[in-house]
């Protein structure tokens, strides 16, 4: 029988709520609800429970005291809950990694509140120097972030890795973000007349156009969607991968991934550009085979032959 998850997650909240309220006598219920992201009703339930809790033999002097007056609350006699539960490894890692990543973004204040907060946190976790997060600093990152914030239309020279060609485009930046180890600019491309995603390190030049654009209503889900979900009309390729190529499954969003008993994989990936697939197959060599579609089966061999031509001269 597995424990009901509900009790666990409510317990976590209670164990964090009690120390905070005890430390802030007379805090307003509305503020507490807001701070802990709970509804007024949920908070009320949590607080109703507490006067029933305490230590054996559960005589009045051994129970937690909760006093609510005019929407303000006091908690007393809960010394054993005067500190919250320590952070789990996962939580400590997530906080520290997020903070270090944000601090590594060009333009962050190395001596600001985030830096001092991380110092305290790392000290408490015993992880002062050994966790480092690098997010990279492509040349045009700052210019692009500023243009995105100011809604300035820019012209870029862009090296398309997929097509192995450089083009010049006018773009309206929607957002600039870091994912899969790279910075991306999501933008409306006026040449393509559509939304496009650009790798910031492949932008060779940024020129202001002097024009401004009207930003569309902010869409929170925007960045995740653009990065993780290939366009539905992209062709799909089915690959068979040897166990040593398992990293492919972890590195690219796959539509299907099936591990076989011998550790090999069958995966379906979206292929936006032929050159991308060429690179993948050249890199994997004998560890990968194209199963379908038939017209993509010889992509690797053709690319290898083309490259070998250089070596025959």
């Amino acid at each position: 029988v597995s424990p009901r998850p509900l009790a666990g997650s409510r317990l976590r909240r209670v164990l964090a709520l009690v120390p905070w309220i005890a430390e802030h006598p007379g805090a307003a219920l509305a503020d507490i609800a807001d701070r802990f992201g709970v509804s007024a009703v949920e908070l009320e339930h949590d607080l109703e429970l507490l006067p029933l809790c305490g230590l054996p033999p559960y005589t009045p002097d051994r129970l937690i005291e909760v006093e609510i007056v005019d929407g303000h609350v006091w908690i007393r006699f809960a010394e054993y809950f005067d500190r919250p539960l320590r952070l789990s490894s996962e939580e400590g890692l997530a906080l520290l990694a997020a903070g270090r990543a944000l601090l590594a973004v060009p333009g962050s204040d190395d001596h600001g509140a985030l830096a001092t907060a991380l110092e305290k946190l790392a000290g408490a976790l015993g992880a002062t120097e050994g966790l480092a997060v690098e997010v990279g600093e492509p040349v045009h990152l700052d210019a692009l972030r500023q243009a995105a914030d100011a809604h300035e239309r820019v012209e870029i020279d862009y090296y398309s890795f997929g097509r192995d060609a450089t083009t010049t485009r006018e773009i309206d930046l929607r957002s600039v973000f870091h994912a899969f180890g790279h910075w991306y600019a999501a933008a409306y491309c006026r040449q393509a007349e559509d939304e496009r995603l650009f790798r910031v390190d492949r932008i060779r030049r940024v020129r202001p156009t002097g024009d401004h654009f009207d930003p569309p209503a902010r869409d929170e889900a925007h960045f995740g969607d653009t990065v993780y979900h290939p366009r539905s009309d992209d062709p799909r390729v089915t690959l068979e991968l040897d166990p040593e190529a398992t990293w492919v499954v972890e590195s690219y969003p796959s539509e299907e991934a099936e591990e076989r008993r011998d550790g090999s994989w069958r995966v379906v990936l979206a292929v936006s550009e032929r050159a991308w697939l060429e690179r993948l197959l050249l890199d994997l060599g004998p560890a990968a085979r194209v199963l379908a579609p038939p017209e993509l089966r010889s992509v690797g061999a053709e690319a290898a032959n083309r490259l070998m031509a250089r070596y025959r001269q």
């Binding site: 305490g54 997530a94 906080l95 990694a97 944000l102 305290k120 976790l125 997060v133 089966r297």
Partner: protein, 309 residues
């Protein structure tokens, strides 16, 4: 009937407050809400214990007097309580911004970590970055914090490593440290670790002072390996020359040709990573030396060319 949350809260309070460990019988006797029947209260307590451990509460089973066979439970306060961080409201707000701007994909939602740090202060931020998580990462982070030597399987071999630090770079997590089997400092890609990470006893080593994981790892994948150093020469066409020089640095340029192409010289210790780097440039690059490395590249391409013929 006692509410389960009430029973769990009382159980935590009792196990935290007790100076000595309590037997199962003592616990069900004093904490309200357990059934009378032995089979039932045992089962109920097992479930409660799993729930507490599941949310990270250290419920320990210890010998009652430190010697005898009789065992009991308690929550050691020094393992339970979060040390006081004395965060200012500005610092709490900065952490709130950080965990909303930077998401660890597949990691825990930041909500509960923030609760422990005093709830949400200030405003959330727009998403700015996403970092991947890999299964072995929390165990390695823990081992690094407690200075425990870890054992794991990597490229088919068992490794014994003192984890000096953990680094995220170019989309991947690395652990750097002292490799007992090789007797040298080494780095490992965490997502290529097979299976579980086993940690030894804490306090087994001390990392070098002022260690920067990034410096241990070095900056180039083709240097992450363990092979003898070979200086590779790569001809890069004019179309990609500027971008490649930006990546490898000006000092690596061995020759500039009239047509705008360049020959770069790279000391490599990882042939596979070097091959990926060259193949990424597709038709715009060619290994020109040394002859063995060039021959190796031709052989690799030849295998692919024939493989699907």
């Amino acid at each position: 009937v006692t509410d389960r949350l009430e029973r769990l809260t009382n159980l935590v309070a009792t196990l935290l407050d007790t100076r000595r460990s309590l037997t199962l019988e003592e616990i069900v006797e004093v904490v309200p809400g357990y059934p009378d029947d032995k089979v039932s209260y045992r089962r109920q307590f097992e479930r409660d214990k799993e729930t507490l451990r599941g949310i990270g509460i250290p419920v320990r089973l210890e010998s009652l007097d430190g010697l005898g066979p009789e065992q009991g439970y308690r929550i050691p306060p020094e393992e339970y309580y979060l040390p006081s961080l004395d965060l200012t409201p500005d610092e709490q707000a900065a952490l709130h911004v950080a965990v909303t701007a930077v998401r660890l994909e597949g990691g825990p939602a930041p909500t509960e970590a923030l609760w422990k740090l005093g709830g949400r202060e200030g405003e959330a931020a727009h998403a700015l970055a996403a970092l991947p998580t890999v299964p072995a990462l929390p165990a390695l982070f823990d081992a690094y914090r407690t200075r425990s030597t870890v054992t794991f399987s990597y490229r088919g071999a068992a490794r014994h490593v003192d984890p000096w630090g953990i680094l995220f770079r170019r989309g991947h997590w690395y652990v750097v440290g002292h490799d007992h089997d090789r007797g040298e400092r080494r780095s490992f890609r965490v997502d290529r670790i097979d299976g579980d990470v086993d940690a030894g006893p804490p306090g087994a080593f001390e990392p070098p002072a002022r260690l920067e994981p990034g410096a241990v790892l070095g900056d180039e994948p083709w240097r992450y390996g363990e092979e003898d150093v070979v200086v590779a020469r790569v001809l890069v066409d004019a179309s990609r020359a500027a971008a490649v020089i930006e990546q490898v640095g000006e000092p690596a340029v061995g020759e500039r040709r009239a047509d705008g192409s360049v020959v770069i010289e790279l000391p490599i210790t990882n042939t596979a990573a070097f091959r990926s780097f060259v193949l990424d440039l597709l038709d715009a690059a060619e290994v020109v030396g040394p002859p063995e490395l060039r021959a190796e590249m031709v052989a690799w391409l030849d295998r692919i060319a024939r493989g699907a013929a």
